[in-house]
């Protein structure tokens, strides 16, 4: 924890900015983090208690703040919401803007350092290097750190077997959907009795995961929260990366990169539908 604290150098500026925004009425509520009972937890700062803002911290943990924002906006469409954003939060916000779940005019953001990786060392985020896969998982399953090229290099049958090994571990907690910042549907296919056997365990594999994967096309912003929340370590990021690679190849739609790139105008507008990646599939 102290390690993260040392790296945070803009904490004071951030607090001053949030205070100013709350006082001026630029935002009505600001979503950030605060230490509560020794845990860094998401917290809603309001102008009712401005002194609390002194306890605002930017991390080190990562929760889907934008998902909390959508729930507030659903009840109070005119409330002005401010939030701390890392790169992944910003991408999620862009997706929520284009799908009309949040109004960009009512959202103010303060950017903070992003997830640490080899590229970005000075980052303070919970998404550290993912856990290394054990030898058995490497042998029969899918290594979470694998990239798409390595995955595609396996033959079709082997790929299927490896994914099935991963999917069969699923305990159907719906955690991947529940934590997902871009899952906002009122009615979810994964709860539809005609499509998925609800209440049945073990879950129907692979259809449960593939239905979700298909729905992540043009939505998933690769934040990795689903994989963080998965109790059985299914490499969901890799699966959704593949889906979005197809979206990119066919529609040239780069999910979450811009707040104005409307998914509804993609079909037929700029694309001639040649089934590119499908015909090339091994």
């Amino acid at each position: 924890m102290t390690e993260f604290r040392q790296k945070v150098f803009t904490e004071d500026d951030m607090q001053a900015q949030v205070k100013e925004w709350l006082e001026q009425g630029k935002v009505d509520v600001f979503l950030a983090y605060k230490m509560i009972q020794g845990h860094p937890l998401p917290y809603c700062f309001t102008r009712n208690d401005l002194d609390e803002v002194n306890e605002l911290i930017p991390g080190p943990i990562r929760y889907p703040l934008e998902k909390i924002a959508t729930k507030i906006a659903a009840r109070y469409p005119d409330v002005k919401i401010g939030l701390l954003v890392r790169d992944c939060n910003q991408r999620a916000l862009n997706v929520l803007y284009v799908w009309n779940q949040l109004n960009p005019e009512n959202v103010e953001t303060i950017s903070v350092n992003c997830c640490p990786s080899k590229l970005k060392e000075h980052a303070d985020c919970s998404y550290l290097e993912p856990k290394k896969a054990g030898p058995y998982k490497k042998q029969v399953g899918v290594d979470n750190n694998m990239d798409l090229e390595d995955m595609d290099a396996y033959g079709r049958q082997e790929r299927f077997n490896r994914w099935m090994y991963e999917f069969k571990k699923c305990i159907k907690c719906y955690g991947c959907r529940d934590i997902c910042p871009v899952c906002f549907c009122k009615e979810c296919s994964l709860e539809h009795d005609d499509l998925i056997g609800t209440g049945d365990l073990p879950p129907e594999v692979p259809i449960f995961h593939l239905v979700r994967a298909v729905h992540m096309a043009g939505r998933c912003i690769d934040c990795g929260l689903c994989e963080d929340a998965c109790p059985v370590d299914i490499p969901l990021r890799l699966l959704y990366k593949k889906v979005n690679e197809i979206v990119m190849d066919v529609f040239e739609y780069e999910t979450g990169t811009s707040p104005s790139q409307n998914p509804f105008s993609v079909l037929g507008d700029t694309v001639t539908l040649k089934p590119k990646p499908i015909s090339e599939a091994a």
Binding site: D28, H39, C44, K71, C173, A229, C230, P231
Partner: protein
Amino acid sequence: MDCKIVPSVCSYCGTGCGVLFQVLDGKLMGTMPMKTHPVNEGKLCIKGWNLHEHVNSFMRLKQPLVKTFGRFIKTGWDEAIQLTADRFRGIIEKYGPDSIGVLVSAKITNEENYLGQKFSRAVIGTNNVDHCARL
């Protein structure tokens, strides 16, 4: 508008996973796992993920029911406790304290479980105490 995020412990089983409740105007809107909690480390099972559904469910019992002539009738706590105490006393007098057994639960706290065994030993007078998780 009153928006709170309240840390708590899952009440579903004895594991004790840390959860966060999202509360909007005093009503539970959602549940999230607590990422820094040493027990669950940001993961939950389906029951934990849906704690707010239990609380908000229209099927939730909010007051005691007394079975009268085969039907459940709503009643107050005082009346329900009095009725239970009277019936217990009647059974103990007729068949002895060992005719009663107490089942405590993994869904209640340590302290409540302690109270449960104390109640059965000191008040009812039996050692018949058991627990669903004693496998």
